[in-house]
């Protein structure tokens, strides 16, 4: 059961990466850990649906992304309507002063929150998690053109918010 090749063990080694992805999607650390927790629960319960020989990481990321959509998408749509994200409104006035890692994480999470959901997930998967374009297309069931245009828009917007001048 806990041999290095077991499902549980492999899922355990993915945990730090899944938490990172959860932080990139979520509003704050508490939401991110809730999302991580429910992803693990769902993955354990759905263990039998994973086909050995296919990538466990893509499978687990996909579970997290779907759970995030279920719980957060409606809320964030509403938030978008109420407060259309304005570039540079989140990050304070002195990006150069905020290079300390802890502060930087808070800043980056805030900036990610100002991306529309569909751009945020693509930015997180490609720029933070390091997946290739094609892997992300498969994971999200999207055509290449859609993934690549969301990535362009998302990263331009991020640069406008957090980039050094």
């Amino acid at each position: 059961m806990d041999s290095p090749s077991s499902f549980e063990h492999q899922l355990g080694t993915l945990l730090p990466r899944l938490r990172r992805f959860a932080h990139a999607l979520s509003r704050d650390a508490a939401d991110a850990d809730d999302l991580t927790q429910s992803t693990l629960e769902r993955a354990l319960r759905s263990k039998w649906q994973w086909q050995p020989g296919t990538r466990l990481d893509s499978w687990a990321y996909r579970i997290m992304r779907n759970l995030w959509i279920d719980t957060a998408r409606s809320r964030s749509r509403k938030a978008k309507l109420e407060a259309p994200p304005e570039e540079a409104s989140v990050v304070g006035t002195d990006p150069r002063g905020a290079m300390d890692a802890a502060i930087d994480l808070g800043r980056m999470m805030a900036a990610m929150q100002h991306l529309p959901d569909d751009q945020r997930e693509v930015v997180a998967l490609i720029l933070i998690e390091g997946f290739g374009y094609r892997e992300v297309c498969e994971m999200l069931d999207l055509p290449m053109g859609t993934v690549s245009s969301r990535l362009v828009r998302g990263r331009m917007r991020l640069l406008a918010m957090v980039g050094e001048q």
Binding site: P16, E41, K47, Q49, R62, E138, G163
Partner: protein, 232 residues
């Protein structure tokens, strides 16, 4: 956004084939504006990655019960927490089954078909029956036409097993000496290979299993023992 932007970023992300990458690289080198954009975006990504990497490098907080996934699985077993089986879900499953997604090839007048009809009940036959009788999910036979997913007991204590072949997936439970089909779901037309590649099971089957299963799936040793006991 223009195609040119997408091409520029695909180059930046190392997603272009070598010849095309070389040509974009030349373009960028010639343009101070593009060179600056490349630097800014690289710096931004490095900053973004460094910020979020602090999470991946940090120890998983104590407050997260799943910190040890294995212990967590054990905890969950103790708590017996299953959130499925709501009446809504039952209704959805019943509707799915009533629609009848049996494919024509599954019920065949020939004895070699994988499904037999007896007294109005559907039973596994031929290859499917053999696979359900003999295969172990923990030791899959190479090249077998039917593969077994999980084995578990339903609320009445009968052994149930999920199976998949090229066209469909389903659930069969022990009824005396035979395997009665509880559900059979065809993979959507045209999505079969992508479906299998994605490593996911049919959501209808997943819902059916969740509502049928009592306790947890059998592990490898329990599965072997159940086979030795003729799946009783």
């Amino acid at each position: 956004m223009t195609i040119a932007d997408e091409r520029f970023f695909a180059w930046l992300d190392g997603e272009l084939p070598p010849e095309e990458a070389a040509s974009v690289e030349t373009e960028v080198a010639r343009s101070p504006e593009l060179t600056r954009a490349a630097q800014e975006h690289r710096a931004m990504q490095a900053q973004l990655k460094a910020a979020f990497d602090t999470i991946a490098e940090a120890p998983v907080p104590q407050g997260l019960p799943a910190a040890n996934v294995i212990n967590f699985a054990a905890d969950q077993r103790r708590r017996g927490s299953r959130r499925w089986g709501s009446s809504m879900q039952w209704a959805a499953i019943a509707a799915t089954l009533a629609l009848g997604v049996l494919t024509g090839t599954m019920i065949s007048p020939l004895r070699s078909g994988p499904v037999d009809v007896r007294d109005g009940k559907l039973y596994a036959a031929a290859d499917l029956n053999d696979a359900l009788d003999k295969e172990l999910a923990s030791a899959p036979a190479a090249g077998a036409p039917v593969s077994i997913g999980i084995t578990f007991r339903d609320q009445s204590g009968a052994i149930c097993r999920t199976f998949t072949n090229a066209q469909s997936s389903g659930l069969a439970c022990r009824d005396g000496e035979r395997w009665q089909l509880r559900g059979l779901f065809a993979a959507p037309e045209g999505q079969r290979s992508a479906y299998r590649m994605a490593g996911s099971a049919d959501p209808n089957l997943a819902a059916l299993v969740d509502s049928t299963m009592a306790g947890d799936p059998l592990d490898a040793a329990e599965e072997r023992a159940a086979k030795a006991g003729k799946w009783r």
